[in-house]
Amino acid sequence: MKPEYDPDGYRRDGPDFTGEPLHAKLTETWRDGPGLLGWIRSVDHKSIGRRYLVTALVFLALGGVLAALMRLQLSGAEREIIGPDRYNQIFTMHGTTMMFLFAVPVMDAMAIYLVPLMIGTRNTAFPRLNAFSYWMYLAGGLLLWIAFVLNVGPDAGWFSYVPLAGPEFSPGKRIDVWAQMVTFTEVAALAVAVSLTATILKKRAPGMTLARMPLFVWSILVVSLMVIFSMPSVATASGLLLSDRLVGTQFYNSYEFGDSLLWQHLFWFFGHPEVYIIFLPAAGFVSEIVQAFTGRRTFGYTAIVLALIATGLLAFGLWVHHMFATGLPRLGYAFYTAASMAVSIPTGIQIFCWLATIWTGRPRFMVPLLWVVGFVVTFVIGGLSGVMLASVPIDLQVHDTYFVVAHFHYVLIGGAVFPLLGAITYWFPKFTGRMMSERLGKVGFWLSFLSFHATFFPMHIMGIEGMPRRIYTYPAGMGWETLNLISSLGAVVFATSVGIFVVNMLLSLRKGERAPDNPWNASGLEWATSSPPPPYNFAHLPIVQDHTPMWNDERPVAYGLRVEDREMLISTVIEAVPDVREPSPNPTAWPLIAAAASTVLFVASMFTPWAVVIGAVPVAAALIAWFWPKDMNHEGEPVIE
């Protein structure tokens, strides 16, 4: 074993340098600076993950308020509470906020916080890129919501179909705001995806081979690769739209040799994978929760990993099922029907495996597992109505009706938000050092579960009964009033139950029972460190020998990382053999400055194309400063065995 001082004169952790002195030294090296400046300069994945999570939950609340307003307006026929102009902004904002500012970022948030802990490392691979990503996301969200408050909120739907969203039918800045918000969030999502992919592939603890990686980490790896392949499509789409709107190109103008369907292809080539980008992390949550609360390894590890990968691949072959009513060739549709049906196979496999785990395990029915049970009961309905929608003739009837609204809320709330709430309950002690209230959690769960179905189940019938989506009012006597009223009442209770969850979080944050390191007796490495984790995550890097390191009596660790500089271990991609020790960046404000410069460029480019030229100068300056060669204390070095 290594002595406290290496021959090269740097201090390293080791069996003789451990405990409190090591803690003090590592904390000094890895912690964020003090005060506001420290806060904005932070590159710690936990700080960034936390602020990402809080921001995403704020957007969830805002999106929820919009949903409540819509349910108020639709609670009866011919209501005149909200006019068409505001209503169209509201449903556009609801969809845009939930998809771009809540669902994807909240999964990013969980991944940023958890992945380094779950794979046993000290930070993400590109900590500054992570920080940059958060600032871009925040700027995009603020842009959208400030515009909405100023009555410049987008009003052409979260999908912004052209030509409605084009320069002729949507003059003014509303659609530009939407398109630039997309640019912001795409940059943010791509930055996180790149950072997480590199982290997962290169920063795993010694011995954590790909085949031993926690299932949540697998899901994030698949999702990050999906983001890298799908997001450029929507960034292209929104870029072309801005260019049509701002400088008079005609990409989407059918009468000038453009094509309005081009938008739909580009948008849904991103838009469909997006659904799985939201669902797969949730599937990862479920795998982790099931494993922890049944006390056995999730059955069918390999099958689940293959299912995640299969979903990730198939997700790119389905987008045309959003376009069945556009009159594309029938033979082509048949392919997309088959592909859309096929994607339910890997999802079915995962559900089979989770239930088999519960069957053969020893489940403890605590709140996170309840959310999983609620997830299965709800999500499967959404999956099966999805099978119906894959069928072209059926889709032609129910496409763009409330049947579809019901379907995707079953899939997105049942399939992603329920597991997310379970996951927040599950990892809350790790995030905060305190347990969430079990009793309040159960009340919240049952109320959410029941009111969710009361809100969204009637929408299936509304759709079959002919109620289209995106209408701000409907005439009396269509047979829709009772169903809408039930749905609106359900929504009131549902909003309350989400409120209970939030109250539970806030109360527990202040008064919750203190959490030990591993309160659930779970198996993953994130439970090997204290709750909440210290800034450096692990005093000594854990060595992994199987899938469930925390269930072994023996927990070996590796020594030899520097303690006075930020240093991380790089391991090989497949076998996670220690390879190189690499310096990790210190806190810096440059990501924030670069994000601010990019914000100026993006926002100004809604008004003049010259902003792209002139605005590029400060962005370039910020990036040069960001990447300016540091006075490196050291280069990457091979591992000393």
Partner: protein, 337 residues
């Protein structure tokens, strides 16, 4: 599974589903799709029941294991997992088979829908506008072409081929009682074949978000006997009589001399604007403003008086008229049967 029964009940009650309902099945396409929907509904309901049963047993079994075992972790015996692996393979195979069956059922239905497009259909052109429907009945003899708005008359038992175009943004024509929807996309031409099997009055509505008044863009659909259809068409071909006196004559003059005639056309009069609905027989239509209001004296007057109050944001400007002028124009429009 009470829910599945509930939807099925809605669906099976064919014809009782209301005037704008996919459960209506008043046309051949609608019936074929309804039949396919039932196949899907019962299959998915069975799958859902299976999952629920599996979940329930898993919870009960799991709970029993929990009571039996004191320890926390540990793996079940390896051969138990082998049994489950076989189960997983069987489950996956069964899922694939069911999905293959549903895919084939889809293709068969789609083929049946694609085939039913022959034999001397009624040729209709529907053009989407923000936010109303222009409807033209084509005829080889130009003088026998009919131009109307926001209403569709179809003879029962005969195919109607509808050519779909859009004048501005994407709309979608959906007569749920008769068939699935089809988008109207600017720069493209699509068609939709309807084969109504029952007479009746139905409602269609735009199904693709098309802007501010997407919610108030509906269309009345009347399916009638071949004879009634012939009578309706003949009536549409007759220019309305020019009023000879009274308020209606004053209304006629106002219509021609004020802004009205620059957008609206009335057959047999100088009014020939093409950007707004043809009003030649507006009083014979059931509703005005694209299905927004029933055609009554009061509604017509309210609409002409302040169209922005009825349907905010629509393209009809408010034409300043005195009380008397308003009454006259309304009286004139009411003669346009």
């Amino acid at each position: 599974m009470k829910r599945a029964f509930a939807i099925s009940a809605v669906f099976a009650l064919g014809g009782c589903g209301g005037i704008q309902s996919a459960a209506g099945r008043d046309g051949m396409e609608g019936s074929l799709i309804g039949g396919l929907f039932e196949v899907f509904l019962w299959t998915t309901a069975a799958v859902y029941l299976f999952v629920l049963a599996y979940l329930a047993i898993a919870l009960v079994r799991g709970r029993r294991h929990r009571r039996e075992a004191a320890g926390l972790q540990g793996q079940p015996p390896p051969d138990a997992d082998r049994k489950w692996r076989t189960g997983l393979i069987v489950f996956t195979g069964a899922t694939a088979l069911i999905l293959a069956g549903l895919t084939i059922a889809t293709w068969l239905t789609d083929r049946a829908l694609a085939k039913a497009e022959q034999d001397s259909p009624v040729e209709i052109e529907v053009i989407g506008h923000q936010w109303w429907w222009e409807v033209r009945y084509d005829d080889p003899i130009p003088s026998r072409m009919v131009r109307t708005a926001n209403e569709l008359h179809l003879p029962v038992g005969r195919n109607a081929r509808i050519t779909l175009k859009s004048n501005d943004v994407i709309h979608s024509l959906w007569v749920p009682n008769l068939a699935g929807k089809q988008d109207l996309i600017p720069g493209r031409i699509a068609d939709l074949v309807l084969h109504p099997e029952r007479t009746g009055v139905f409602r269609a509505q735009c199904a693709e978000f098309c802007g501010l008044q997407h919610a108030k863009m509906a269309l009345d659909v009347t399916v009638e006997s071949e004879a009634d259809f012939g009578r309706w068409k003949a009536a549409q071909l007759r220019p309305p009589p020019v009023p000879t006196g009274g308020g209606a004559l004053a209304g006629y003059s106002l219509f021609q001399s004020r802004q009205c005639s620059s957008c609206h056309a009335i057959a047999g009069t100088p009014a020939s604007g093409m950007v707004a609905p043809d009003l030649s027989h507006v009083a014979s239509r059931r509703t005005i403003a694209a299905g927004t209001l029933p055609t009554t004296h009061a509604n017509l007057a309210a609409w002409i008086d302040d169209p922005q109050a009825v349907k905010p944001g629509n393209n009809m400007p408010e034409v300043p008229l005195t009380e008397a002028e308003l009454g006259a124009v309304t009286a004139y429009l009411e003669t346009l049967k």
